[in-house]
């Protein structure tokens, strides 16, 4: 009798053990899968880029100022595409940073809980709008409107998609920064108030510095999102790789170039085809560098209040 009970106990324990192992294996597989995917993408990127640089020298890629790989006179200077990307992202950040940070301060320090609970989700809806919608919004609404103010503005330009992209990344900055500021312990604020600080002083001199690591990480994530953004620029910024700082003329970003080539009929394995991997690697290095900076910033400025 006691034998059977003990047997049964052992069986259940074995079963639990096996189940634990199975769950663990499945979880490990899921974790490994995303890691392997990332690794695979990076490997493909680098292999194709390596193949690209067998045919095109580094000097041609980094020292030329013309980008015309699809035409008979092939030039491989990456800078027009980099300049286009940086220009649009810069405009986006100039729009998103002030608005995003100020709304974060408002939501975290000024708004009543009720208002906050209404406004925050609404702001986050902005992030949920598909970027193709933003693209057509830039092309058919914002550009014509801007042309009434700046008549010399081209139909395709960096300004309009830059502004619209800025609107798109506002919630990223505001929401993440607000989380960081909201998490600052109440005791800090109370202390500052007790010393006679005004609300503005508390927000800007106490809460903002305390949450700085989170805020800077949010901003850099937003920049990295802007650099990688594709649809808006492919639709509204033009497809003309020009090395310019003017936001009024057609440009082409790295992402838009990749779209242009992959939508066309460039046969696999040709040099033209490999250019998109070289550009992709460049893009990857940009966002990777930004993520590293974001990480180190948030480590360096992390204030721990426990």
């Amino acid at each position: 009798m006691s034998e059977t009970i003990r047997d049964r106990h052992r069986a259940t324990r074995l079963q639990t053990l096996w189940r634990e192992k199975a769950v663990r294996a499945v979880l490990f597989f899921c974790g490994a899968l995303s890691l392997l995917t990332t690794l695979g993408i990076v490997l493909v990127l680098f292999f194709e880029t390596f193949a690209f640089f067998q045919e095109v020298s580094f000097a041609q890629f980094f020292l030329d100022t013309q980008w015309t790989p699809l035409f008979s006179t092939k030039r491989f200077g990456i800078w027009p595409l980099v300049a286009g990307t940086v220009l649009v992202s810069l405009i986006a950040v100039l729009v998103a940073m002030p608005i995003g940070l100020l709304s974060a301060i408002y939501l975290s320090e000024y708004a009543a809980d009720k208002t906050r609970n209404v406004i925050k989700p609404i702001l986050e809806i902005l992030a949920g709008i598909p970027s193709v919608v933003y693209g057509y919004f830039a092309l058919t609404v914002v550009t014509p409107f801007l042309q009434t103010i700046i008549p010399s503005l081209s139909g395709f330009n960096a300004l309009s998609p830059g502004i619209v992209m800025g609107i798109m990344i506002i919630p990223m900055i505001s929401s993440l920064s607000e989380d960081a500021m909201y998490a600052v312990p109440k005791s800090l604020r109370d202390g500052a108030y007790a010393l006679g600080s005004s609300r503005l002083q508390v927000s800007l001199r106490v809460v903002f510095p305390a949450a700085f690591s989170g805020i800077s990480a949010a901003c850099i994530l937003a920049v990295s999102r802007a650099i990688g953004e594709t649809m808006i620029v492919a639709i509204a910024a033009g497809l003309q790789p020009t090395l310019t700082v003017s936001p009024l003329v057609p440009i082409e970003t790295m992402t838009a170039y990749i779209v242009q080539v992959s939508l066309g009929d460039t046969p696999h394995g040709t040099l033209e085809y490999k250019t998109i991997f070289a550009v992709g690697t460049m893009l990857f290095l940009f966002t990777f560098a930004l993520n590293l900076i974001s990480n180190s910033l948030s480590k360096r400025y992390r204030e721990i209040y426990e």
């Binding site: 015309t68 003309q240 057609p250």
Partner: protein, 332 residues
Amino acid sequence: MTKNMKNKMIPALLAITLSSSAFLPALYAADPIIKIDGSSTVYPITEAVAEELQAVDRKTKVIVGISGTGGGFKKFCAGEIDIANASRPITAKEIALCAENKIEWMEIGIAYDGLAVVVNPKNNWVSAITIAELKKIWEPAAQEKIKQWSPVRSGWPKKEIHLFGPGADSGTFDFFTEVVVGKAKSSRGDFTASEDDNVLVQGISTDLSALGYFGLGYYEENKKRVKLVAVDAGNGPIFPSLKTVGDGTYPLSRPLFIYVSSKSLKKPEVNRFIAFYLENAPELSREVGYIPFPKEVQSAVDMRFNQRVAGSLYTGDGSVGKSFVSLLRGGK
């Protein structure tokens, strides 16, 4: 490009919807589908013919893509499509590719096109342009030199010049560079290049300092959004019109083609489509803004098809060279 995406997505979405609906496969399999791809210049005519055909014959589905002439031939010679739209004759390379894959084909002329050179409607300094000036703007060397209007002709403003043209896979691009620059595919590369002419229209119509070119059909469709420029090849400025393109006095005139694979032609629906195409091409090409062949040319084209003459009238260097009419007569 954006429209291009849309156009490419529609068949894809259609395919997904069709294949995922449980009750449709039987219907799906029963419906004959004609697959066409290639030149975006020829697209409006083929699309018009397809619509007319589907109005009388509801069963047959026609899918028309716009990958550019070069893109279309790549698919055509891989046996992926039934018909290739082309705004230039097939090249020797493409002929070889088709032969490699054992694809036999027929070339059918469908209409004339006069390539339209256009600027923004608010542009008040350009009303005519010479071929030499176009060359000055578009040749590869211009990429370093011509950034503004002023060096092209004295009197033109010191404004930046923004160029719009079809991408490198386009037959219109091949033809324009051949006639203007002197060598097919030889062009500067810093312009807004798109296989989708609607993107070009959008760009030119919203950009004061724009200049661009595309098939006449897209001008007819967008008369109010862009301004047509007369082209001068030495005999004075000439606008493309029914008359000047038809008799070849407009310097940027050219024939348009469709290519049909002989294997597909054995399918009744494709055969019916081509017959319908020949019958309606004159009227429909005029409707969408191209220039129908004169009667005797059209009947020569019909005869060539009825006798199932395979192969191309051209030498295969991709150039139009000799006039279509003289080749047609010679080949009869």
